[in-house]
């Protein structure tokens, strides 16, 4: 064995599920080719490839915006070149679970904005729906084209110490990150060309085509050549690069609110040759900001009156307005029941066990066990409004307990998971860093399509559990094998 595991001889997967190593020195079958390849490279070569990858990302311009007006500084999402690898069977299982989940969620949202049968049959309390921040009353009675509401979903998955997969949360409003999936893959192909030639990794480049199909599917059938646009809040939005990237890859126009106007009952764009009708809008503006006449009157980002055009069926929006109701973490906890109610099936991909603080007994348990739990606000994103009980001080826990008791409907708690890890180049050595996975799921003309792979977000600090980009997280490529 001798020189074999030179680089990884001191790598210790530790007391966690390591995505690439079954035990110290023993790579998992799906990771063997990669580890062998890495071991054949000298430390300098490894460093060089990591640096080349960083430079390539910079040049490709996959930036997100952090800026002050005069400077225009843009940041690169930190990227690590060691991918996460998923075997074909494992992916097939995840795919089945995600398809089932999105189908159920779609039926749920459609039901909630029409007859609310799931409420009438006593499966989900009406109060819960009405008190959900993402539930938009003005959307009641709207008929979404082809009855599809969740066109583009990003579902966050994690794996626990025992290797079991869980769904952490669903992102049904404007999930972002897929542009990194595509750019990461581009960079990886030039970093590890030999492996790509040998291993058999499912390609990711078809995403824009599938996305375009998903959007075109929403146009009324009598329109021969529907006009699709991507609606962005503008260059100051942190995900602007992705908006412009996807528009470019699909070959459609990127517009801002101020480029659109309601005329003749349709949404139209201001072009150099006059007004042009828009049929489908991939909107990357949040529900509440999209129409100052229907929602937040202070929004300058949206298009006044667009909701009426949407309601009349003269423009299609993806994602549909109102999908945010299912982003609510309390509603999330009811997904197993939704699957049973709408599909008559058992949940394939498990939810993380969740305590609902608005139930008095569960609230009692949660407050008494804050040091063991992770508590989250029902409608916050990006890791904000969250308490990691195991890492918080007594004071912080006390303060948070107060918040929970003041507004119990707004909090859920979950046991602390030991997220799985992937070897990551930190400084001069490989360390296991915690990861999660966000696959992207489209609901198009052929049903639910799960894009192979997704964004593996990694906590770039040793021992950290925080993977969000806004708080220092980075990303890795995800390889789904054939």
């Amino acid at each position: 064995m001798g020189l074999q595991f030179v680089l990884f001889d001191s790598y210790d997967p530790g007391d966690f599920y390591d995505e690439l190593f079954a035990s110290p020195g023993e790579p998992r079958p799906e990771g063997k080719l990669l580890i062998d390849r890495l071991n054949s490279l000298s430390p300098e070569e490894i460093r060089m490839r990591q640096q080349a990858a960083k430079t390539a990302m910079m040049k490709l311009g996959a930036t997100f915006n952090v800026y002050s007006d005069s400077e225009g500084t843009e940041r690169i999402l930190p990227f690590d070149m060691i991918p996460r690898i998923v075997s074909a069977q494992e992916w097939a299982y995840l795919e089945r679970g995600l398809i089932q989940r999105i189908q159920a969620l779609n039926l749920f949202i459609s039901d909630i904005y029409s007859d609310q049968k799931i409420v009438k049959d006593g499966v989900i309390p009406e109060d819960l729906i009405n008190s959900s921040k993402g539930f938009l009353k003005p959307c009641m009675g709207i008929e979404a084209p082809k009855n599809i509401w969740c066109h583009i979903t990003g579902t966050d998955l994690v794996r626990d110490r025992d290797g079991q997969w869980y769904v952490l949360e669903d992102n049904l409003r404007c999930p972002s990150g897929v542009s990194y999936v595509l750019e990461n893959r581009r960079v990886m192909k030039s970093t590890f060309p030999q492996i790509f030639a040998t291993l058999g990794i499912q390609p990711v480049d078809e995403y824009p085509s599938h996305l375009l199909d998903t959007l075109l599917n929403l146009a009324p059938s009598h329109i021969d050549d529907p006009t699709v646009v991507v609606l962005t809040p503008g260059i100051y939005n942190s995900a602007y690069f992705e908006h412009s990237f996807l528009a470019q890859q699909m070959g459609v126009e990127l517009v801002e609110g101020r480029d659109l106007v309601i005329a003749d009952g349709y949404v139209q764009m201001r072009t150099t040759k006059g007004l042009q009708r828009v049929d489908v809008i991939y909107r990357r503006i949040d529900d509440t900001f999209i129409d100052p006449l229907a929602f937040n009157p202070e929004s300058l980002l949206g298009v006044p009156g667009i909701t009426e055009v949407y309601r009349s069926g003269r423009v299609a929006l993806a994602n549909a307005l109102g999908t945010g109701v299912a982003d609510d973490k309390v509603i999330y906890s009811y997904v197993p029941q939704m699957i049973r109610y709408y599909l008559g099936e058992d949940q394939i991909l498990a939810n993380v066990p969740t305590y609902l603080c608005w139930e008095p007994q569960q609230l009692e348990y949660v407050v008494a066990n804050l040091d063991k739990l992770v508590v989250k606000a029902a409608n916050e994103a990006g890791g904000y409004g969250m308490l990691v009980g195991t890492q918080a001080t007594e004071e912080e826990r006390l303060e948070f307990a107060g918040r929970i008791k003041a507004n119990p409907r707004n909090y859920i708690a979950q046991p602390t998971l030991s997220l799985s890890r992937v070897p990551t180049l930190l400084g001069d050595s490989f360390e296991g860093c915690h990861v999660d996975l966000r696959p992207y799921i489209l609901y198009g003309p052929q049903g639910v399509y799960v894009h192979p792979g997704g964004l593996t977000r990694v906590a770039m600090k040793k021992g950290s559990l925080v993977v969000n980009s806004s708080q220092g997280g980075g990303s890795k490529d995800t390889w789904v094998l054939f």
């Binding site: 311009g61 005069s70 225009g72 503008g234 260059i235 412009s244 990237f245 528009a247 470019q248 126009e253 990127l254 517009v255 801002e256 101020r258 480029d259 659109l260 106007v261 309601i262 005329a263 003749d264 009952g265 139209q268 764009m269 201001r270 072009t271 150099t272 006059g274 007004l275 006449l293 300058l300 298009v303 006044p304 009156g305």
Partner: protein, 326 residues
């Protein structure tokens, strides 16, 4: 294409062209004065006069010394027509249409901006003539990159039109500078001193060698003015610029040459045909300065009409039940 995008590409090009031309003005002036006999009073006020922003300058700086005028035109962050401000605005426009222009174009504008910004923050020993040279080079680079990497579609043509109109306007101002530089006495007209000043002017418009090729005889005011206004082939001459602007406009609107569909076609066509048939004697008899002044007014109007026709679109009044906030 989206009006907003066309507008941004148009202005991106205008600002880059403007920055290059400011570098040229200051250069003309420096050269003119370097070649003047010592004792002849340094004249920097004329330079400010040709920008049309004399009042603004007087408010902020007072006396028109070399230092003040150069600072005003080159690095003044608050003067919208300084080289620094032009680059900042160019970059801003480029960034908002990044997915339409090529990545090389964006990278080049970004680098150009950073070069100017760094020079602005540097100490006063920064070597100005070299800086102005770099500005010209970077501008050439931008035009080259845009020519070679961006599809010559509607957007590209809006860019070229903006650039050509700007260049025509600025060439006319470079010529105007000479008018304002007073010779010590009327006997100096036609002397070596006069000729040297015309050579300096030609050099600043990068026109000296091309001029020589065209006309082998001596440098005369009529010759130089005719070359810079009426030559149909020299890329910095006013007529050349107007011709190219018109060609780009025809690409955009599809209007047949010699006909018009909108106010921009009309004004631009009229200007171009007047320049087609006017003779240098007529220009000089009318008065060079008056002619140039009138030209600037007309170019300005063409730019306004362009904005009204293509960029500032309002929906039909009777269906504007909820009008768009701009």
């Amino acid at each position: 294409m989206l009006s907003r995008v066309a507008d941004s590409i148009y202005w991106l090009n205008c600002y880059i062209e403007r920055a290059e031309n400011i570098a040229r003005f200051v250069d003309v002036n420096q050269n003119l004065l370097l070649d003047s006999p010592s004792g002849m009073k340094q004249q920097w006020r004329p330079l400010v006069l040709t920008t049309g922003d004399l009042e603004l300058f007087k408010e902020r700086y007072g006396e028109a010394t070399a230092e003040n005028v150069i600072q005003f035109l080159t690095f003044d962050n608050q003067y919208p027509n300084s080289i620094l401000s032009c680059l900042r605005l160019a970059r801003q426009n480029a960034r908002s249409v990044r997915e339409i222009i090529s990545s090389e174009m964006w990278e080049q504008v970004n680098e150009f901006y950073m070069m100017v910004r760094d020079a602005a923050m540097g100490d006063s020993s920064y070597y100005l003539p070299e800086f102005f040279n770099q500005v010209k080079q970077q501008a050439h680079l931008f035009v080259g990159v845009m020519d070679a990497t961006m599809t010559h579609n509607e957007g590209w043509h809006f860019g070229r039109m903006g650039r050509m109109l700007e260049r025509a306007d600025k060439t006319s101002r470079i010529l105007d500078v000479k008018y304002f530089i007073l010779l010590p006495s009327v006997e100096d007209v036609g002397t070596t001193l006069d000729e040297i000043q015309w050579i300096a002017l030609l050099k600043s418009a990068s026109a000296y060698e091309m001029y020589r090729k065209r006309r082998q005889h001596r440098i005369t005011p009529f010759g130089v003015v005719e070359f810079l206004i009426l030559d149909r082939e020299f890329p910095r001459s006013i007529q050349y610029c107007i011709l190219q602007a018109e060609r780009s406009l025809q690409h955009i609107t599809g209007t047949r040459p010699g006909t018009w569909k909108n106010p921009v076609d009309l004004e631009l066509g009229r200007l171009r045909s007047e320049l087609d048939y006017i003779m240098i004697d007529e220009i000089m008899n009318r008065g060079l300065h008056e002619f140039l002044d009138n030209l600037q007014t007309r170019i300005n109007m063409i730019q306004e009409k362009t904005f009204e026709t293509f960029f500032a679109l309002e929906p039909m009044p009777e269906t504007a039940s909820q009008s768009q906030v701009s």
